[in-house]
C-alpha cells in the first residue's frame, strides 16, 4: 500500500465532510421512508364511507405468520357497514406476529387492507399489540401507544413520518 493509496482514501473521506449528512435526527425530526415501505396496516373505506372489508378472511388464509383473525357477520340492510351482505365484525392483526410481508394486501379482493408507512409500533403490554378495526380503520393515526400518549398529553398524534402515503392508501393522511 503506497502513500498515494492512503491519500486517495483520505480524499474520499474529506470529500464527504462537505456533503449533506445521511443520518436523520429521528425522533426529533420525522423520517422519509421509501414509497414501497410496508408498515402498519390500514383498513380502507369506499368514498361512500362504507368499509371496503367484506370479512372474507382471505388475508388470514394468505398470512404466513397466522397474525390475522377475522370474524364476519351479516350487514343490516338499513345500516350497512360494508357493501353487500357480509362485513367483518372482528378484524384483528397481531402486530407481534406480523412480518409485514404484504401478502394480506395481495390476497384482498376488495383492496381493503393496505400496508401503510407507520412503523413506530413499540408498546409495553402483549395485548396492546393486537390491533382491531378501531385501530386500523382509515382516519386513525399512529400506533396504540402513540394515540394513548397523545390523549394523556392532550395533543395531536405525532407520527414520525415525513413522506406522503402511497396512492393505494385512499384517505390516509400522515
Amino acid at each position: 500500500m503506497s502513500v498515494l493509496d492512503i491519500a486517495k482514501g483520505m480524499g474520499v473521506t474529506l470529500g464527504h465532510l462537505f456533503k449533506r449528512p445521511v443520518t436523520v435526527r429521528y425522533p426529533e425530526q420525522p423520517v422519509d421512508v421509501k414509497p414501497r415501505f410496508r408498515g402498519r396496516h390500514h383498513l380502507l373505506r369506499h368514498p361512500s364511507g362504507l368499509e371496503k372489508c367484506i370479512g372474507c378472511s382471505l388475508c388470514a388464509a394468505a398470512c404466513p405468520a397466522y397474525a390475522i383473525y377475522v370474524e364476519a357477520a351479516e350487514n343490516d340492510p338499513d345500516d350497512p357497514v360494508s357493501p353487500g351482505e357480509r362485513y367483518a365484525s372482528i378484524y384483528e392483526i397481531n402486530m407481534l406476529r406480523c412480518i409485514f410481508c404484504g401478502m394480506c394486501e395481495e390476497a384482498c379482493p376488495t383492496g381493503a387492507i393496505v400496508l401503510g408507512h407507520e412503523f413506530e409500533l413499540a408498546d409495553f403490554v402483549y395485548q396492546d399489540f393486537t390491533y382491531g378495526k378501531d385501530d386500523m380503520l382509515v382516519g386513525v393515526m399512529g400506533s396504540k401507544w402513540q394515540r394513548r400518549e397523545a390523549t394523556q398529553k392532550g395533543r395531536d398524534v405525532r407520527v414520525g413520518l415525513s413522506s406522503g402515503p402511497r396512492p393505494e392508501l385512499e384517505g390516509v393522511d400522515y
Binding site: 367484506i54 372474507c56 382471505l58 370474524e71 351479516e74 353487500g84 357480509r86 379482493p109
Partner: protein
C-alpha cells in the same frame, strides 16, 4: 363389460354409467348435476366426452371390423355425449382428454359462469365449492361475457334454516330432485324458464324433516345453512368425522368447529347406514353446546351455595361423602347416549363400590336387543315387505329414508373403485314407488303413512292387543273376537292381507320402536309375529347407545334397583350423568333426602339445584368412544375441538374419582375402557373404521332384568318420539324458530273443548312434571288424547296429565 377410457382398459358391470367408468379408470370429468344416490339427468352438460362403441352386424352378429387394423371398428356418436346419462356398452371407448372434449368442457364452464356472480369471497361455500374447483381445473380463467349478469334475489330465506342465493344457482336441479327422490316431499321446483329460471317453493318454508341435506349437495353456494352463515370459511373449520348421537341410527356426521365453537354439522357418507343424508334434528340440533349457561367447571355446595372448585377437590369431596354410605346404597345412572366406554367406566365404578344400583335412562321396559334375525339398514333398503309400528320419521329418521329406498325398488349400488357410483342409471326422476310393500301402524297419523300402501291407526296404548291380534291372525285359524277386531284398527281382511304379504315376502322386515318397547308383552308379540311370518326385525331404541349399554350390561342387578326406584328413595347416594329427574316435584322431594347427589351435566337445571356436587359433562360432540347403533354396528365417536371448559365425560369422572379413591378402575380412560370391552365383547374397538364394524352381536344381554308386568293403562297424554330433542330445544334458538317450540298436539274438537288455539303457550303437569309447550291443533291426533314429545326423564308411553293444572302463559313468544 370391457371398456376403454383413454388408454386404460377395465372391466365393469353392465349398466354402469360412462362417467363412473371414467372415474373408475382413474380419470376425471367435471360434473355438477350428478349426485350419488340420485338420478342422473344430464342437465349441466359438463361431463361431455367422445364416446364410441363397436357395432355388431345385424344379420350375422359378428363385430364389424375396421378394414385397416382388423380390430372391431369403433363407431363414435355424432356428438359428444354426457357420460352421466350414457350406459357403458361392450367394447366402449371413452375419450376425455382430446382437444375436442377439453374445448367443449371449457365452453360449458364458460356458459355456467356467465351468470354466476363470482362473489366467492363472501360465499360460505368458497373453498369447498365444486364450481370453484371445476372452473379452476377446466375453465379458461377469463370471461368473455361483457354484459350485465342476471340479477335475482341474493338472500331468499327458504326456511328458517336454509337461505337461497338465486344468483349463484347454476340450475343443476340437485335440490329439486333430492326432495322428490330421497324424502319424497316435493317442495322445491324450478320456476320460470330459460335464462330466468330460478328455484322456488310453492308455499312457505320447506315442510320436511330432511331439508338440510340440500346445503350439502348444492355444488355452489346457492343453498346455505343459515345457522352457520358467515361464521367462518371452509378452510378455517376443523372437520371432525364422528357419529351423530341424536338418535339410534348411528348416522355419520362431520362436525365443523372453529375457535372452540361448533358452527355447523354436515352429513358424512356411510354407505351402509345413512348414505349421505341426515335429518334436520341431527344437523341443526347442536347449538346448545355453546349455550351461555353451560357448566364449565366442577361445583361443590359449600354453605348452601355451589362454588367452583377443581376436579380433584370435587372428587375428594365425593370420596369423603361416600365413606359414610354403605354398599348397595349408591346409585349410578347414565343417559342412554353415553358411549360404551362410559358404560364400562360406570360398571367398573359400580363394581368397585359394590352396588347393583346401576342403570341407564331412558331404558324401555322391554329389551331393545332384537331377538331372532336382526335387520340391517341394507335389509331394510332391499326389503320387499316392511311393517312399521311407530313413528320412524321422528324416532330414527334415517330409517324413514331407508324405507323410502325400498319403495323405489332399487338396491343400494355396488361400490366402485372411486366409491359410490356418481350416476346410478337405475334411478330415474319421479320413479314409481311400490307403496304396496309398506304398512305403517301407529296410534295416530304419522308422516310415513303418506308413503305407505296400508296405514293403520290402532287404539292409543293398544300395542299389545294390536300385535297379539295380528299374531293370532298369523298363527291360529280361529276368528278374532270382537275386542280383537277393535284392537286391530283395520278390517280383518286387511290384517290377513298384511300377514300374507309379510309371509310371502323374500325379505320382510318389521320395524318397531318405543311404542312397542314400552310394554314387554307388546314386544313379545311382535317377536312372535316376526317368527310367524319369518321377518327380520329392526328395533329402534330410544337413544344413540341404548343398544350398546344394554348389551354390555349397564343395568341394575335387580328390578328394585332400577333408575325409577333409585330416584324415589331407593338409594342413599346418587351419581347421575346427563339426567334431570328433579323436574318432577315429587322426585325432587325424594332427592332432597339423599346423603350425596352428584350430577354430571352440561347445564344448570332443577337437579343441579339440589346437588351436592355438580360436575361438567361433555356433550356428544366432545366425547371419544364407541356407540352401537340399532343394527348392532360399532361406530366411532370422535371429539370435535369444542371449548367445553373443564368438562369430562364419564370416563373422566371415573378417572378423577378413582384417583381420589386410590384405585385404578377399568374405564378410567377410553383406552382402558376399550381393553375392558375387548374382554367383554371380544371386539377390538381400537381404530374403528369410519363405516363402523358389524361384529357378531351377543344374542343375550349380559345382565337381564325381569320387569314386573305393569301394563299401562290409561291416560290422556301420549309421550311420543321427536326428531328435535325437546330437552335442548330452548337452547337451540334457530331450530326452535324453524320447528317451533315443544308442541302439544291435540285434535281440533279437544282444542275447542279446552278453549285452546294453535300457537298458545301452555303449562301442564304431565305425570307429575310441569311441561311447557305450544299448542298445535291437528286432525292427525285421535280425539281425547294429546301428544307431547318424550324426554329422557319422561320416556315414550301413555301417561296422565292433570288438566286442572293447565295454565296459559302470556304469549310473549308467538310461534310462526
Amino acid at each position: 363389460m370391457k371398456v376403454k377410457v383413454n388408454d386404460t382398459e377395465l372391466e365393469l358391470a353392465p349398466g354402469t354409467s360412462a362417467i363412473d367408468a371414467v372415474f373408475a379408470a382413474g380419470y376425471d370429468v367435471p360434473y355438477f348435476c350428478s349426485q350419488e344416490y340420485m338420478s342422473p339427468i344430464g342437465a349441466c352438460r359438463m361431463c361431455l366426452a367422445k364416446v364410441g362403441a363397436p357395432r355388431q352386424d345385424r344379420a350375422t352378429g359378428e363385430w364389424i371390423l375396421d378394414e385397416e387394423t382388423g380390430e372391431p371398428k369403433i363407431f363414435y356418436f355424432p356428438t359428444l355425449m354426457a357420460t352421466c346419462t350414457t350406459a357403458i356398452m361392450e367394447g366402449m371407448v371413452i375419450d376425455t382428454l382430446s382437444d375436442e372434449v377439453r374445448g367443449a368442457q371449457n365452453g360449458m364452464v364458460e356458459f355456467t359462469l356467465i351468470n354466476h356472480p363470482l362473489d366467492c369471497p363472501v360465499c360460505d361455500k368458497g373453498g369447498a365449492c365444486e364450481l370453484q374447483d371445476r372452473a379452476y381445473e377446466y375453465g379458461s380463467g377469463l370471461s368473455r361475457f361483457r354484459f350485465d349478469k342476471r340479477h335475482q334475489e341474493k338472500h331468499h330465506a327458504l326456511s328458517e334454516l336454509i337461505t337461497l342465493d338465486r344468483e349463484r344457482c347454476i340450475h343443476c336441479k340437485r335440490c329439486v330432485r333430492y326432495f322428490e327422490e330421497v324424502p319424497g316431499d316435493e317442495v322445491l321446483d324450478f320456476i320460470e324458464r330459460g335464462g330466468h329460471t330460478y328455484i322456488g317453493t310453492l308455499g312457505e318454508g320447506l315442510p320436511s324433516n330432511f331439508t338440510g341435506n340440500i346445503t350439502d349437495i348444492c355444488p355452489v353456494g346457492a343453498l346455505l345453512d343459515a345457522t352457520s352463515r358467515f361464521r367462518g370459511r371452509n378452510w378455517e373449520y376443523d372437520h371432525t368425522r364422528t357419529t351423530g348421537l341424536d338418535d339410534a341410527s348411528g348416522s355419520a356426521i362431520i362436525v365443523d368447529a372453529r375457535t372452540g365453537r361448533i358452527e355447523r354439522i354436515k352429513a358424512a357418507l356411510n354407505a351402509e347406514v345413512n348414505k349421505s343424508w341426515i335429518d334436520d334434528g341431527t344437523r341443526f340440533g347442536h347449538e346448545y353446546v355453546d349455550a351461555e349457561d353451560r357448566i364449565k367447571t366442577p361445583l361443590v355446595r359449600k354453605e348452601g351455595e355451589l362454588v367452583p372448585v377443581t376436579w380433584e377437590e370435587a372428587t375428594g369431596y365425593v370420596k369423603a361423602k361416600l365413606e359414610g354410605i354403605a354398599d348397595k346404597e349408591l346409585g349410578i345412572v347414565l343417559r342412554a347416549d353415553a358411549t360404551l366406554e362410559e358404560g364400562v367406566a360406570a360398571k367398573a365404578l359400580a363394581d368397585h363400590l359394590q352396588t347393583g344400583q346401576l342403570d341407564h335412562c331412558p331404558r324401555p321396559k322391554a329389551s331393545v336387543l332384537p331377538e331372532g334375525d336382526a335387520a340391517r339398514f341394507t335389509d331394510l333398503a332391499t326389503a320387499d315387505a316392511i311393517f312399521v309400528i311407530g313413528d320412524v320419521s321422528e324416532e330414527v329418521p334415517a330409517v324413514d329414508l331407508r324405507i323410502k329406498d325400498a319403495l323405489k325398488g332399487v338396491s343400494p349400488p355396488a361400490s366402485l373403485p372411486h366409491g359410490v357410483p356418481i350416476a346410478d342409471l337405475r334411478l330415474k326422476e319421479r320413479m314409481p314407488r311400490k307403496a304396496g310393500l309398506l304398512t305403517v301402524a301407529a296410534p295416530y297419523r304419522v308422516d310415513l303413512m303418506r308413503h305407505a300402501g296400508r296405514s293403520v291407526c290402532y287404539p292409543v296404548g293398544g300395542e299389545t292387543a294390536f300385535l297379539s291380534a295380528l299374531v293370532k291372525l298369523a298363527t291360529v285359524e280361529d276368528e278374532l273376537s270382537e275386542e280383537e277386531v277393535a284392537a286391530l284398527g283395520m278390517p280383518v281382511d286387511e290384517g290377513r292381507a298384511l300377514i300374507e304379504r309379510l309371509a310371502q315376502a323374500q325379505n320382510a322386515v318389521i320395524v318397531y320402536g318405543s311404542f312397542v318397547l314400552a310394554s314387554p308383552a307388546a314386544r313379545n308379540a311382535v317377536i312372535a309375529l316376526a317368527k310367524a311370518v319369518k321377518a327380520k326385525v329392526m328395533v329402534m331404541g330410544p337413544m344413540a347407545n341404548s343398544y350398546g349399554l344394554e348389551a354390555i350390561g349397564v343395568m341394575p342387578s335387580h328390578a328394585r334397583y332400577s333408575y325409577q326406584q333409585m330416584i324415589r328413595g331407593g338409594a342413599k347416594a346418587l351419581i347421575l350423568s346427563g339426567l334431570d329427574p328433579a323436574q318432577d316435584p315429587s322426585v325432587a322431594e325424594a332427592l332432597k333426602d339423599l346423603e350425596l347427589l352428584v350430577v354430571h351435566h352440561h347445564f344448570a337445571n332443577a337437579t343441579t339445584a339440589l346437588a351436592d356436587v355438580v360436575l361438567p359433562a361433555k356433550t356428544g360432540y366432545e366425547k371419544d368412544g364407541t356407540v352401537v347403533n340399532l343394527e348392532g354396528r360399532y361406530l366411532p365417536v370422535r371429539s370435535a375441538p369444542v371449548d367445553g371448559g373443564q368438562s369430562e365425560d364419564f370416563t373422566g369422572l371415573v378417572r378423577y374419582l378413582g384417583e381420589a379413591l386410590g384405585v385404578r378402575l377399568d374405564g378410567r380412560s377410553t383406552r382402558s375402557a376399550k381393553r375392558a370391552l375387548n374382554h367383554l365383547l371380544a371386539v377390538d374397538l381400537r381404530d374403528l373404521p369410519d363405516e363402523g364394524l358389524l361384529a357378531k352381536a351377543k344374542s343375550r344381554p349380559l345382565r337381564r332384568v325381569s320387569v314386573k308386568e305393569q301394563e299401562a293403562v290409561s291416560g290422556n297424554v301420549l309421550l311420543v318420539p321427536s326428531m328435535v330433542r325437546p330437552e335442548f330445544v330452548s337452547r337451540n334458538p334457530q331450530l326452535r324458530a324453524a320447528f317451533g317450540d315443544v308442541a302439544l298436539c291435540l285434535h281440533p274438537d279437544d282444542a275447542d273443548q279446552m278453549k285452546l288455539v294453535g300457537g298458545e303457550r301452555v303449562r301442564l303437569s304431565v305425570d307429575g312434571t310441569l311441561r311447557k309447550a305450544t299448542v298445535r291443533v291437528s286432525e292427525t291426533v285421535p280425539q281425547g288424547i294429546m301428544l307431547l314429545p318424550a324426554t329422557p326423564e319422561q320416556p315414550v308411553g301413555l301417561v296422565s296429565a292433570d288438566l286442572a293444572t293447565l295454565v296459559k302463559e302470556s304469549s310473549e313468544l308467538e310461534v310462526a
